[in-house]
Amino acid sequence: MTGKKIKLSKVIEQFNLKIECGEQFLDKEIKGGYVSDLLSDVIANCKEGYIWITLQGHPNIVAVAVLKEACGIVIINNRQPEEETIKKAKKEKVPIMTSSLTAFELVGKLYELGISG
């Protein structure tokens, strides 16, 4: 890919993602991306510094993101994180964004920008 460093803040701005929490932690480089709604799959395959795209909004996504050291979570398809998820994410300093795009559309855009899996 381009080898250019892409920050979370840039992706948020460019694709109009809504920041649900973690606005203090958006200055992170996105090292890659992973998309899945199966937690075992994410635990096995997501890598450190990756942006995780999912339609799950329940609190355990935060534990998964913390364990995998994901740079942030994007919940797609207009889905909303639960209140408890936001509470946990704030505590654990995990940025959560939401998008009206589908997983396919968002991943396509991220890939085009130079983020790969």
Binding site: L39, S40, Q56
Partner: protein, 155 residues
């Protein structure tokens, strides 16, 4: 070390810690595994071993939360290996061979909707462990033993 192989678990414990896991607590499931990961990082364990052990620990922790009443996760670090045990009190597993099949799951629809219950937990533990042992007694509980070798040249 030769001639002491059968006494290997008697070698010096460098570090030991226990974590309590509560059945049904899906909100905090995985936190013990994250704490464990941070400890291993601080100690300076090889990153590939940490990555594999964290995957196994999370899956084991989630299984206790999903299927058992409560459990204890224990980490023991020896000079030559890391031993992670997860012991729970719960329904146990009647057919371990079946439970080990990729995709086999008894998780409820509600749990599957949350993204759990893919039936990959036990297979992924086995895949990521250097040595994986499972024993279970129905209506009593399940015990998992995950060993990571620290002195492998390619580790």
């Amino acid at each position: 070390m030769k001639g002491q192989i059968d006494k290997i678990t008697d070698s010096e414990v460098l570090f030991e810690q226990e974590f309590k896991i509560n059945g049904g607590d899906f909100i905090n499931a995985g936190e013990s595994s994250s704490k464990l990961k941070n400890i291993l990082k601080e100690i300076g364990i090889n990153t590939d071993i940490i990555r594999r052990l964290a995957i196994a620990a999370y899956e084991a922790e989630v299984n206790v939360v999903t299927y058992a009443r409560h459990g204890i996760m224990r980490i023991l670090i020896y000079p030559e290996k890391i031993l992670l045990t997860i012991e729970d009190e719960g329904p146990g597993i009647g057919d371990i061979d079946q439970a080990m099949q990729p995709g086999y799951s008894t998780a409820t629809e509600e749990i599957r909707e949350m993204g759990f219950g893919a039936g990959m937990g036990l297979p992924n533990m086995k895949k990521n462990a250097d040595i994986f042992n499972i024993s279970s007694i129905v209506d009593k509980g399940t015990k998992l033993e995950i060993t990571m070798n620290l002195n492998d040249k390619n580790a």
